[in-house]
Structures are given as C-alpha cells and as structure tokens.
Symmetry: C2
Subunit: 547 residues, 2 copies
Amino acid sequence: MKQSQMFIPTMKETPADAESVSHRLLLRGGFIRQNAAGVYSYLPLGYKIIKKIETIIREEMDGIGSQELLMPAMQPAELWHETGRWDVYGPELMRLKDRHGRYFALGATGEELITSLIRDYLNSYKKLPMSLYQIQTKFRDEKRPRFGLLRGREFIMKDAYTFHDSAESLDKSYWEMYHAYCRIFERCGLKYRAVLADSGAIGGKDTHEFQALAEIGEDTIAYSDSSDYAANLEMAAVLDTDDAIKGKALPLEKVSGNQEIAQDTALTAHWFKTRTDTVVVFIKTGDEINDVKIKNVLGTDLIEPLETSNKDAIHPDKGVRVLADNALKHLAQTSVYNEAENLTYFHLDPDRDLAIERYDDLRFIKEGDPSPDGNGVIKFARGIEIGQVFKLGTKYSEAMNATYLDADGKAKPLIMGCYGIGVSRTLSAICEQYHDDEGMIWPKSLTPFTIHLITVNPKNEEQLKLSEKLYTQFSNQGYDVLWDERKERPGVKFADSELIGCPVQVIVGKKAADQIVELASRKQKERIETKVGQLSDAVTELLKTLD
Amino acid sequence: MKQSQMFIPTMKETPADAESVSHRLLLRGGFIRQNAAGVYSYLPLGYKIIKKIETIIREEMDGIGSQELLMPAMQPAELWHETGRWDVYGPELMRLKDRHGRYFALGATGEELITSLIRDYLNSYKKLPMSLYQIQTKFRDEKRPRFGLLRGREFIMKDAYTFHDSAESLDKSYWEMYHAYCRIFERCGLKYRAVLADSGAIGGKDTHEFQALAEIGEDTIAYSDSSDYAANLEMAAVLDTDDAIKGKALPLEKVSGNQEIAQDTALTAHWFKTRTDTVVVFIKTGDEINDVKIKNVLGTDLIEPLETSNKDAIHPDKGVRVLADNALKHLAQTSVYNEAENLTYFHLDPDRDLAIERYDDLRFIKEGDPSPDGNGVIKFARGIEIGQVFKLGTKYSEAMNATYLDADGKAKPLIMGCYGIGVSRTLSAICEQYHDDEGMIWPKSLTPFTIHLITVNPKNEEQLKLSEKLYTQFSNQGYDVLWDERKERPGVKFADSELIGCPVQVIVGKKAADQIVELASRKQKERIETKVGQLSDAVTELLKTLD
C-alpha cells in the first residue's frame, strides 16, 4: 500500500491525557483516535491488527468446535429482569428506551441473551454439549475510562458460552477453552500467565484469568519463581506449614495503656459485619487481611469493615465469630492492645487465650512466601486481564428456566460455562510489551505490514524507480508492504516509521543508483547496506531472527 | 462439520408473523432468530453467509484502494448538533445518556463521525483523494420493523466515505465505487439493477441505488425493456415528445355544474404549498402527479398538498405559481371542472386559456411509456434497495468546518461522497431470489456449506462407515461439508436439508453396502444413484451446472 493513500494520522507530540504507553503509542502511531471518553475509532492501521487478532481467535475457536454467531447489541430489558441483573448491574450497564418506550440494555455481556436463544432448542441431552462464540462490540459505562483501549466504554470482545449435561462435560470444555486461549495468546506473541482467579459474585466455581504481564496492569499476580504456579494476588493460597514449631507458652500478662510491642509478636484484630454476623479476625500485625478469603471462608458475598474502638476482641460478646489466620496456630507468645479495656496483653497464646472458632488462610500472600505448590518462592508481577474462562454452573439456566431432558426423562437446568477475550484490550497489551521509546515494534504475527519501504527522496528518479521495483518484488513475494513514497522530509518519514513499527525497514536512499539500499529491523535499528540482488535473502534471514 | 454439533434450530411450522419469504425461510432454516422487534441474532449458519458477503465486500473495497476502519456505535451528540441533524433526524435516531448525563446517538449513519475524524488530518490537497469504509452494526428505530432483516432496527451495513478537492475527483471515485458495487452484487449472485435515484433532502447531487429485484421490494423500478435504462419510479423522466402534433383549438366553452368529461381530454389541477409559494399544477386526469419532480422543479425540499375546493385554478390569485405537465403542451382541446366557479370548461387550450408559468415533466412514468433513453418501452419491477452511491458535496464539510488547503493556499471545504451497502439486507435479498417452497437454494458463492452429506440411518454400520469416508474425502478436497449424522428420522433429515439449502446433496442410504449413494442438486431435486468411485467427478460436474 502506498503510504500517501493511507489514513495514518501520526502525532509528533505526546497527547497530554494518555497515561499508559499503549494509549500514547496507539494514538501517536495513528492506530486509533478517541471520539469520546473511553470511545475509540480503530483507524486503518489499528483495525488491520484487530482483524489479525480476530482471525487467530476464530481459527482457535473453530478448531475446538465452537460455532460463531452474532447476537445483537440491543438486549431486551425483560431478559435482564429474568436474572435480576437489570437492577443489580448498576450504572455500568448502558440502557436505552426505544420509540415505543421499551427498554433495552446495550450488551455488556451475553449470558442472558444466549440463554434465551438456546433455551427452547437445547432441550435434550442428545444435543449437548454445545459451544457458541461471537466477536462483538460491547458496552460498559465505566466510571473512569482510562488507558485508551485498556478500560474503554465501547470495546471489542470475544465471548463464548458452552452448555452441558454434566460437570465432567463442562470440565472438558473448560480445559479445551483454556488451552485454546493459551494458543491464541501465544500466537499473538504475548507474555502472559493463566492465573487462578476468584469466581466472586458471578456465581460460578472454577475460573482462570489470562493476564498479560505489564507494569501498567491493574491486577497483581503472585507466581512461583520455580514452577508454573500463578494466581491473582487475592487468590494465592498461603501455605499452612502445619509442622511449624510452636514456641513455649508463658503466663498471660496485662499492662495498662497502649504499650510498645515487638513487631514479630504483634497481632491485629479486624472487625467485620456480614449480612448476618459480626466477625473478628486476628492476623499478625504487618500481614495484610484478605477480604476475598474471608468471604469464601464465611460463604458470604458481602463483608463490611466495622469501627473497632469499642469492641473487645479478647472477650467478645456472645455470637461474635472469631477467626484467626493460620500463622497464629504456630505462635505461643503474641501481644495485642485491646482498646476496649485500654490494656496491652503480652504472652498471649491464641489457642489458650482467644475464643477462636477456626484457623484459616485469611491473609494476602507476600513476595518471598513459599509457593503454594511447594516449589520455589512467590514473586509478584502486574498483569492486564485479557481473558477469562469460567464455570458458570446453573445460575443463568435456573433463573431463565433453560432446561433439557436427561436420559432418564427428567428436566434439568443446563450446566454452563462462559469465556471471554478482550480483543481491543489484547491490542493494548501487545503494545505494552512490544515498543521502545520511539514507537511500536510489532510482532510478525500481528504487524499491519511486514516491510516498511521508505523512499528517502521520491523526487529523485533513481530512488523512485528502484523503490517501485522493490515494492512490486516484495508484494509478489507475498509480503504486506507499506511504501512511504510521500514527499516529506526524511526526518518526518523515519519518525513515522518508528511510530508505525513494521518489523523490517528497507530504506532506498542516495546509493539507489548503485543498487544499494539499507536494511534494518525496527527493533535493532542498525542499518546494513545491502545490494539489491541480496535483499530478498537478507529480508528472509532477518525475519527469522524476529519475534 | 457434524450436524449434531451445530446449532441449527430449524422450524417445521411457518412462523405466523413472518410476512416475507426471506423472513420465513431464514427463521425456518435456523439462520436467524428474533430477539426483539427488528432485532435479530445471526445463528451459525446465517453468520457464515454474512461473513462470506463481508469477505466479497472487503475484497472489492480493498481492490479500489478504500481502507477499512471501524468507528464506534456511540457517537457524541455534539457532532450531530454541528450538522443540525440531532434535531432533524427524528425518532429513528436512537439516543442514550451516559452516567455523566452526556448524550450519544447510536450510529444510524456515519457522516458526522467520519468528518470529525478526518477534519484535522485531511488538511491539504496533497492528501486527497482519500477513501475509507467500515462494516459495522447500525441502529435505526424504525416505526414498523418488518420483513425480518429487510427492515430491522439493528443491522449490518458497509458504509464508505470519500474526500476530494474537485468534482472530477469525486466523479472518478463515484464511478469506481459504482462498479465495485456491481461486482459485489454480481459475486453474490444477485439479480439487481443500478437505478437513478432522488438525492432528496440529504443534500447531494448524483445518486444511484442498487435494487435487488424481488416482489416483496418496497421500491418500484422503471426500466426499459430494450436497454440498460433503469430509475426509481419517482425519478424516471417522461420523454417530452416535442414534435407531437397539437390538435386544433376551438372556442372555450363554459357549462354550469360538474359535467361529464371524456377521459382523454380531462385535466386535474393539484394545489400545493411550499415554504414560500402557493402552486397549482395541471396534469392530465389519470396521470399521477409526482411530488419529487415538482420539488426538484421548484428547488424546494418541502411541498404540502392544499385543500382545493375554494381555489380557482383558471383565474388564480396573484402570486400563485401555475405549472403544467409537458403533456399539456400538445393538447388544444382539454376540459376541466373548476369547483370555485362551479363551471366545467370545455375546449380549454392550456397555452391560450391558462396562466402557465412553465411546462415540465411533473408526472410519474407509466408502464408502456417510451423509455427516456429512446430505446424501448418502460416496464415496472419491484426492488429491494441493497446499496446506494451518493455525491454528498460539501454539506457536511461546510457544517463541520472540514477544510483543506488547496494548491493556491486557500482553505476550501472537502468535497465528499458517501456509499452504503446493507449487508444483512443483502442476505434477505438473496433469500428472496434463491429459494423454493421447501427452503433455501444457496448460490455457490455464499452457501454456508457446499455439500450436505446425509446419512439416512447412522445406526447402520455400513452407512456410517461410508459416510465417514466420504466426509473425510470431501473435506480433503477442500469442500465445506455439513454431515447430517444425527439419529433422526429420514423425513426430518430431508426436510431440514431442504430448509438449509446446500447446493449439493449426497445421500448415503440402503445401498451403502454396494458403494452406491444418491447425488442430487438442491435445485433440481432429482436423485441420481452414483457409484462412490465416480462421486467426486459427478460432484464436480454437478457444481459446474449450478449458480
């Protein structure tokens, strides 16, 4: 493609409000343009990459027998009422009223719609399992859209749904999908981790998130330095070293006032309220209390912190539930200040002196902790969530009466899985991993063009003629070539080329008359003079060395 | 693909509310499902066809150097205020408010958005012309959505926009686009006509509509039985036969009351109001008055009929504009009843007796009229509008201040063209043309699968084995094969096969043990026993005979 005919509005200046590298470089390279907060256009260069990502996704989805469909963005409110999510979803769900006063949700996710589509048809175990997916524009009215495509309000998503008659069948599809996702992200050239995640309030069981590693990521991943283990920070289990030796117990000692306590013996009491209970949780001071783990232990979807000043954790009121982190099992001489009595307790043996109902893993893991799988120690990394696989179970099928007749003739709710990939977010994640200070460095599998052919001075007859010949030659060899034949200053052309980030650059300059051009990789930048006769081989060789 | 794993919810019964063939058959064949009035899901079979149409469109658009991008569905209201269309567009434009109270239009068309995207960048004649397109979901809140995908509220559209610095450049792109559209519809196998259309209130000049011929079509096309001439009914010019012999004039005669008048001499006066004038238009009684032509002659975008009873067309008030259809030029002895005087005028010579300001072509053409290009006579056909090319001019660039610097250094508004193809509507148009009473008969270029392999009784070992072999063989030959290996009654399978409409059917039945199958085309239906060894050649031959 001739660059003069393309719409590539590169920007010299860094946009002031672009907070992340990917946001900055996608804007500066002319890949996207903002139309409103969190709402973007994919310009021709950016959309070429989006389509390549979509092609990879389609190939892998089709490969595991999932079928593509396309559901509408306009979802009747009635469906969302069936599951109760019309009221629960909050302002993130965009809503609109048609001319007849009927309400619609603009699809933020597709569980209701797909369940309504299949519920009359998938009525027999003979038709199961079934796997369906779509690549579609989704809408979520984020409170604070930011980082460009990373947290947008209109974005492209691949969502898939599977339907089953047994947990085993769901498990099989879950892992097929999991491995397809691995292949997709690998083919996109992403450094990522599949991490255990919290199924939270969505009402399912197993779930993994696919996290692309990037400093800008909003999620923290805890991973082992010696194994495959990885989990979302809040999900990473802290190893309970049952065999840890407990110190010697001493008589309990109380001292008036808030006394100084040695850091390694200090406890902190955290108070919470659930829908039904008051709970106090003891952990070692300095450890970080983990709400998600407490919720899971209590089997509740809601806990709220309580004011602690007047509450006596050592002598709690009747009915107060007392939990303690596993670490306390192994401590005999702890200390705690009890504000309600204005007393500091020393030599407190949790087992002996506290009304602990149960010990459990209730804190966040820390860097340096042993990995839960027993191999190596934990390190932290930041991740961008680019995908998720999720065992939904029967939450939606029960709410929406989507049943099938089993072999025994009984109607049962369909067992469901749901799976998502953020397509536009994947583009951002790739940007975060493939760039330098000057612009993008696209991986071969996704680059909008493989070769950037740059004619330094297109007014020069020799340069123009040679460039034209090379453009035809490369095109005939099957390369996607962007030919910069614009009458611009060389400085502008080279800066644009760095921003655009094609992996291979061929520069036709002063030595064109001698049939010599310069060859460079966008990554290494070193320009090597190459005779035109050897250029084809040199490009092949260069490409072999690139991601 | 094995049919048991596919989501193809065929329907035995004809849905009651499906008014058109395409609507009925797309529903019955499991190609689409309705989610709300005018809002549909494309199920796997239907979406396969949509993607094939999109691929054809992309190839032809890319082929003429148009670049694909993707703009958002959410369009800031501010842009629509700039052109004034926020207030003008009416309830068809779906609108929504975000959580911060900002208004958005859900894209019904993209002129505002594309103009806002390019206006800062396309700032020099050196960057022109430029051609951009997208394939995107559009939203229009039709008052009466109907005929399935033919008039939906959420639909897929290809919209393209070109930008120019001269009328000649626009004209060149216009005709490139026109011919690309011809190739697209030909590749889709459509019988269509490119017809002259009215540019109406959109504010442009030249425009052609692409009309797929179909009885259900909402538009009437006037075409020549002997040439390429075709136009929308309201646009078809009536030939002015200047050399027609005028009859002999007689003295004007007035008779009291509403007297009987011979049909071939009778005139009718039609009264209208424009924004500024009162107008009376005389045409021959029996001819149909054409609002569009009157608007164009008067150069106005609005005319409204007036009550006629008290108005004297023979002696109009001062300031009333009097127009007459060309036919009246050639008539010397007409008659008309003038209600205001309660007199019938006979032997009225329009030239002599009426205050005619100008004669013009003001009526609808009729079947049997001579074709405006002088070749043959006019016939009517019904058409479905599947595409339109349009010279927009500077309407949007002026309203939105999208200017470029010309070679002479002066800022001028960009000259624009816009072009659309209804992708989902094209699918419906194909259905209207490719079906019989039993279901669809897909053209080869778009069929979801080329071969439908039907195992009559998959519980029979021989049939299953042979089918499996043929499935592998056809797949290896590059055919897209749908294999019906479902444990269903043969009647169900054959009925489904007719509904699904793959062009070639291969039926593996009782003679499987003898290595004999039946081969049929969906269109001809005749089943021919074929030896397995000859099947491959027979399929190749059969396909050659099909559309």
